[in-house]
């Protein structure tokens, strides 16, 4: 399992846990279960976890599929710098968040799932993984006329392409006594044969 970045799975697991916490919280709050305020907490914690985990981190090797619309959350998550970059912080954070939800039956599954996600993040942190934001690539402005090749500036007969293409080497070649670039000096005088 050499190539696995554990953080990827931890991220999926944490996102799922967030959703489960929200669902459990809604059930407890709507049903006015005993100690339903834990349910309200669970909804808030679930939303927070979902928002934190929504932007995928960049993989070390290969390309990463972004989640739809994740760039907005990436900007926010990036702001917290080391708190969101470091996976030890995330592991501890998820563990602490999961504890209060464990007091209510409706959210206990969320607790278990988030605790597992916390464990996987710990494993990722131990292996030195980090969250790096996926930056949008700067759009290269199309240079107008950049691909238009100028027609040859010297009249025929022209030396072959190799000699024409590299002016710096031509100067070296000229120093060695080869045919020179720049303004063409015809070795044989050219006469116009049109009468």
């Amino acid at each position: 399992m050499g190539q696995i970045e554990w953080a990827m799975w931890a991220n999926e697991q944490a996102l799922a846990s967030g959703l489960i916490l929200i669902t459990g919280g809604i059930v407890a709050t709507a049903g006015r279960f005993t100690q339903w305020y834990f349910g309200a907490y669970s909804i808030v914690a679930g939303v927070f976890v979902c928002l934190l985990e929504y932007p995928r981190g960049k993989r070390k090797k290969g390309s990463t599929m972004e989640r739809w619309g994740q760039k907005y959350m990436t900007a926010v998550v990036k702001l917290f710098g080391p708190f969101t970059r470091n996976y030890y912080v995330r592991a501890v954070l998820h563990l602490l968040l999961s504890v209060p939800a464990g007091f209510l039956l409706a959210t206990i599954l969320g607790t278990a799932c988030l605790a597992i996600a916390s464990g996987i993040y710990l494993l990722a942190a131990v292996r030195g993984e980090q969250w790096t934001p996926i930056e949008p690539k700067p759009r290269e402005r199309p240079q107008i006329g950049g691909t238009i090749k100028q027609p040859p500036s010297n009249p025929p007969p022209r030396p072959p392409a190799e000699a024409r293409k590299k002016p710096s080497e031509e100067e070296a070649a000229a120093a060695a006594g080869g045919p020179s670039g720049g303004p063409q000096v015809n070795p044989i005088p050219v006469t116009d044969e049109v009468v």
């Binding site: 399992m1 050499g2 190539q3 696995i4 970045e5 990827m8 799975w9 999926e12 697991q13 996102l15 799922a16 846990s17 489960i20 669902t23 459990g24 059930v27 407890a28 049903g31 279960f33 005993t34 100690q35 995928r56 993989r59 290969g62 599929m65 464990g102 007091f103 209510l104 039956l105 409706a106 206990i108 599954l109 278990a112 799932c113 597992i116």
Partner: protein
């Protein structure tokens, strides 16, 4: 032919709708049963409708858990495929969509599990609350049942000063339910497409948590926590009369105390068959693993492609099928799929393996593809082969004209097909119905597939030897070219053979203009049925389907393009 083709396309939709229909039927039928059944009348007094929601989703869960193991019993599917039934084509094609069905059933399990869990949260909460001081009347009376010696209880929560979590963890159903849900969540989070592509091993190993899932499911109902009134009690205790007279239950003869019993566990009955089947499946895979595979030839192509020729007793294949390969020296648990690239007429079977992950990279290294000295045959690592699986591309031979389009790595099944076509062509005994094949190969960089270009070259020579140069017409499109290449190609345009591939037919640059191609083909074959076969990315598949629709004539005697959707 036309009827079969229609059936082909519509069959998937029909099957999915049938599955959905059965689910809805089971759900609604069970729901109404629990809502109306007399023996659960008193249970409903405490729980309300959530009893019916929980039980209905439980039945759907049983149904789906039964179904989920079947699409992944590969040997069973191959066996069914082997016994071909009438109009076998469309049904066999459905067998190839087994993984899609597996995922569909998994989603069904997830949805039903959510309903089931939420309903039971409500149930536990209500059971708990009905033991409180605030519960009055019938509710309180029912909850108190079971406190005296010859009463059977209804409410599994016996006292109020406890919390629902503790109560959950005291029941078998609760603990196994928690374990099952966790297993399901773990399986689903490690099966997302992202994780599967990033690390197939994580997906595969975590998926084996299904063993825990099924074991827990089998014992989930053994606590008999769903309680209804016994038949004997119903016959003695008239509900309509007695339900309001709960204060007199002990005293009045007409209303003896109602007796309750738990429902028998039924999940094991649903899942026993498929679990046994799947266990046999794994045993078969293990036995196949023990079978000897002889490696007869190893060819290391440049650009990291390894070609392996192998032999195995009793191995029969058809073009388009794939095998699963395991190399115990690299990993004792992983089986990786590879499309077969040899023709059935050859006395060996071959695969072409490209380094695209750690397992394949390790395999290439083990076989000395990294440019080391020649390997001795006895020092090559042992391989195990399971298969062949998958739909055969034999439908090609049913059409007089075929258009085969391969994009990128999708060219591999066509290697087997083209070779098979050539062999069938050379067998002079039975004249082939197939008389013309147009082959389009679109790839970014031909270097990764130069082994295929070699194959085309050898086919070209053999065809011209046989005098059948017009049988196969192939067009190669390179979509990744740069200016230097274009310059080089333009300079050598007038030569006889193509400068990149060395083939007589020239390589084109850029993507094919499908409108022109289809127009030309339709013009060449004005009244034939033309089969179109494709292997590659979905976007191109949609384009080709559109072309097939556009250029098929409305006249039944005119040209018709039949798009065969294959998934490899």
């Amino acid at each position: 032919m036309m009827g079969c083709w229609l059936l082909n396309e519509g069959l998937s939709t029909i099957l999915v709708l049938s599955w959905l229909g059965i689910n809805f039927y089971l759900f609604i039928d069970t729901f109404y049963w629990y809502e109306e059944e007399e023996s659960f009348h008193y249970t409903r007094v405490i729980l309300g409708s959530t009893l019916a929601w929980a039980r209905a989703s439980a039945l759907c869960l049983n149904f789906n858990c039964m179904l989920i193991l079947i699409p992944v019993s590969r040997n069973l599917i191959s066996f069914i495929r082997g016994t071909s039934i009438c109009c076998g084509g469309p049904w066999r094609r459905q067998l190839d969509k087994n993984l899609r069905f597996h995922k569909l059933v998994a989603y069904g399990i997830a949805v039903n599990a959510t309903i089931h869990i939420v309903a039971h949260f409500f149930n536990l909460e209500r059971y708990h609350w009905s033991q409180s001081e605030e519960a009055q009347g019938l509710l309180a009376a029912l909850s108190k049942l079971g406190n005296t010696p010859n009463e059977s209880y209804l409410n599994p929560v016996r006292t109020f000063p406890t919390n629902t979590t503790t109560e959950l963890l005291r029941t078998i159903a609760g603990v196994t339910g928690l374990v099952i849900s966790l297993a399901l969540v773990l399986i689903m989070t490690s099966s997302t497409e992202f994780i599967r592509q990033a690390s197939y091993e994580l997906f595969w190993y975590t998926h084996h948590v299904f063993i825990v899932f099924f074991l827990s499911l089998a014992i989930h109902g053994t606590g008999r926590i769903v309680r209804g009134q016994t038949q004997d009690s119903l016959s003695l205790h008239n509900i309509t009369f007695c339900r309001d007279r709960y204060a007199e239950w002990q005293t009045v003869a007409q209303c003896p105390v109602p007796q309750f019993s738990g429902k028998e566990p039924s999940a094991w009955k649903w899942i026993l068959g498929p679990v046994v089947l799947y266990a046999c499946e794994r045993i078969i895979r293990f036995w196949r693993f023990q079978q000897e595979v002889v490696i007869t030839k190893v060819v290391s192509h440049p650009s990291g492609v390894l070609e392996l020729h192998m032999k195995k007793r009793g191995f029969k294949m058809a073009p388009g099928q794939y095998i699963l390969v395991q190399c115990p020296a690299i990993s004792s648990l992983e089986w990786h799929p590879f499309t077969l690239t040899s023709a059935p007429q050859e006395d060996f079977f071959s695969v072409h393996i490209r380094a695209a992950g750690d397992w394949t990279a390790a395999l290439l290294e083990a076989f000395g593809a990294e440019g080391q000295a020649l390997q001795e045959p006895w020092s090559l690592p042992r391989l195990a082969v399971d298969g062949p699986f998958g739909t055969a591309l034999t439908d090609v031979f049913h059409y007089p004209v075929c258009v085969c389009v391969a994009a990128g790595i999708g060219v591999t099944p066509f290697a087997a097909l083209l070779k098979s076509m050539w062999y069938k062509c050379s067998e002079a005994q039975t004249p082939l119905k197939l008389s013309k094949v147009y082959f389009y190969w679109i790839c970014r960089d031909a270097r990764a597939f130069e082994w295929f270009a070699d194959l085309l070259l050898s086919l070209e020579t053999r065809m011209s030897e046989q005098g059948k140069t017009h049988f196969l017409s192939y067009h190669i499109f390179l979509t990744g070219w740069d200016e230097n290449q274009a310059l080089h190609i333009a300079l050598h345009w007038d030569e006889n053979t193509d400068v990149i591939t060395g083939l007589k037919q020239k390589t084109f640059y850029g993507r094919p203009n499908w409108n022109d191609e289809f127009k030309q083909i339709a013009y060449n074959h004005p009244s034939s049925s033309i089969g179109v076969f494709f292997c590659g990315p979905k976007a191109l598949s949609r384009t080709l389907q559109k072309m097939c629709r556009l250029y098929s004539s409305a006249d039944p005697r005119g040209v018709h393009f039949y798009y065969n959707k294959e998934s490899f």
